[in-house]
Structures are given as C-alpha cells and as structure tokens.
Homo-oligomer: 191 residues x 2
C-alpha cells in the first residue's frame, strides 16, 4: 500500500534498537480516516464475504480491527492480555512473549464468542517477531474455528515473524514490509 509506505517514510521515527514508531497515525494518535483506507486495502486482498468475525489482540490492534468491522459490516473480537494467574474458566488462552513489556503475557478469549467453524480473519496494526499473531492463531486453533487469513498493516520484515508465516502457507499479507533501517532511513521490501 503505497500511501502507507509514504506515511511511514514521512512520519515514522527510528529509535535506537531499530524501534520504528508510527504513533502519530497508527497506534497512539490514530488517523481514523486513514485506517478506513487501510481497511479498504485489506478488502482488496481478502475475500471479506467469507469472513464471519475479525480477531485482534489488545490494545493497539483494536482501533484498526474495529474500523475494518464497521466498514465491512462484521463483528470484531479482541483477545485480552492477562497475567497467567488471572485466568478464569471458559477461556481459550495462549502464552506469548511480549517484547514491549519484556515478559510473558497470556492472550485470553471467552470461548462463547468464538464458536467452532467460525470463519476468522486476524487483523493487527503492527508485527515484528509475530508473537501476538502466533498467539491469535493458537486461539483460533483451540476453538475449532477456520482461519481465513491474517492481515497486518506494518510488518518489520527483518524480525522474521512475517517470513515464518509465509513459510507456513497461511493466507498472510502485510500492506507495508520494512526490510531494513539503513542510517536512519526506512527501506521497504518490494511488492
């Protein structure tokens, strides 16, 4: 998605450790109209008519997934992040490593909202090592739902999460893949 790459180039900030911040339009201040355009771009890639529900993880994925849901007329579920000792019954759960928080967190999802044979599209705003998406896939697997696809707005390609998903043959697409950061400049993978 060319417009997304442009905005990352002009508004993204590279911090030490190759952390790429796009918090001016994607995940702190949210440009909701632009997220609507991202939803349109996903709808050109995925067959939305096959999707029953959108699945994401809290917190920042919620804005994009909700906007996709409104534009496509679909409900959305967000997996919550809980400490392992906070788990109740009736939940699917998956342990993931959160690099943001530097610790293990557990994604939880109430079983009643993801019945077997539901057709699920996973949507998230950002992917680096892909732990959140791995956890979401695990929740889908536990539930007996069908995974129709995985759509990510911005992938940090050099951290490997996206390539691992491509190797599995899953219906995975990212709208902008950052391949490297060279002298502070963000280099995108060619489409």
């Amino acid at each position: 998605m060319e417009l997304l790459k442009q905005r990352i180039r002009t508004e993204g900030k590279v911090l030490p450790g190759n952390i790429i911040k796009v918090d001016g339009f994607l995940n702190h201040r949210v440009d909701c109209a632009f997220l609507g355009q991202i939803a349109d771009a996903f709808a050109e890639i995925f067959d939305i008519s096959k999707v029953d529900v959108i699945l994401t993880a809290e917190a920042s994925g919620i804005a994009l997934a909700a906007i996709c849901g409104l534009k496509w007329g679909k409900p959305m579920i967000f997996a919550k992040k809980a400490k392992s000792d906070n788990i109740e019954g009736g939940l699917y759960k998956s342990d993931i490593m959160s690099y943001t928080y530097g610790k293990k967190v557990t994604l939880i999802l109430a079983k009643q909202w993801l019945p077997p044979r539901t057709h699920v599209l996973i949507i998230d705003d950002f992917m680096a090592r892909g732990e959140a998406v791995r956890g979401l896939c695990e929740l889908v697997g536990e539930s007996g739902a069908y995974l129709e696809g995985i759509g990510i707005a911005v992938e940090k390609g050099f951290q490997g999460g996206g390539d691992r998903l491509r190797e599995t043959g899953l219906n995975y697409h990212a709208l902008a893949v950052i391949d490297s950061v060279e002298e502070g400049n963000i280099v995108f993978r060619e489409d």
Copy 2:
C-alpha cells in the same frame, strides 16, 4: 438510547457483586455496526464540528472511539496504561485506581499528540466509579487543551462516577444509565 438499553437488558449478564457484563457486543466481542449507531447517538448530543480530537483510554474504549473517529472524520488518541516505573519523558500522566486490576495504574499520553488549545471530546464505552474518565480529564487539564465534552455509552449510575461529573457542570452525557440491579434485573434511570 433506547436500542442500547434493550441490548443491555437482553444480552447483559449480572455477575455477583453487581458486575454487569456486556462483553457480547461492547467490550470483548464488539458489534461494530452497533457501535456506529452509538457514534450517531453521540453526534446528536455533542457538537462534533467543534471537536478536534477524540480521547479515550485503552483498552476497551478504543473500539468505540475509533469508530466515532471514522464516522466523524476525526482523529483519536488513546491514553495508554503503564506501570508507574515505566514512565518516559515527554508524557502527560495521571494516576488512577483500576478496580478491574485491583491496583493503581498510570494513564500516559505523549505530549506531542495533544497540543494546548486542542478541542477534545472524551469517549468511553463504560463507566463505573469514573476513575478512567477522571484521569483523562486530568490529562486534558495538564495539556492546556479544551474539554468539549464527555460521552459514555453505559454508565453504572449506582457507583457514583457519573453523578460526580454532572455536579461539576461538565458537558457530560451517558447513553444508558443503570441505576440499580434488583433481583438480577437491570433498572435504567429515566431520561
């Protein structure tokens, strides 16, 4: 908002301790089309033309605020919940008590995304004691932005947060106010 009250009546669950769960359409599984109708109801109450940005708190407020932003053509900012020892520079912060987590959390907001004299509408999906909204108001006050109003979808009126806001004379509105729970039945305040 009559339709919201109807859905709370038919789909809401009352748990011990008068905890009211509406996680089938509002804050776990999210009925995005219905949140669009909630956004329309807010737009009848507040003068959206005066609003520069929508402000909410992570996590569950994000879905409603993002959908409001898309429908109204406005950006949205969500305050993040951080541990007190995780604070960096360049942030507004406000300590609130989280009853969900049973501990103090700090709402943080990057200063650059809320400049002075910005016209802010606070939106959240649920309010009980009103700690999150109190924290958001504090962030607005710190920033020198103007608070145009506070819109809440579901207020638990018997926990006092809403009435405290009404007493202050702030432009506060809730679309459904639950006044009591009697023998498992949810009783709404008359409009």
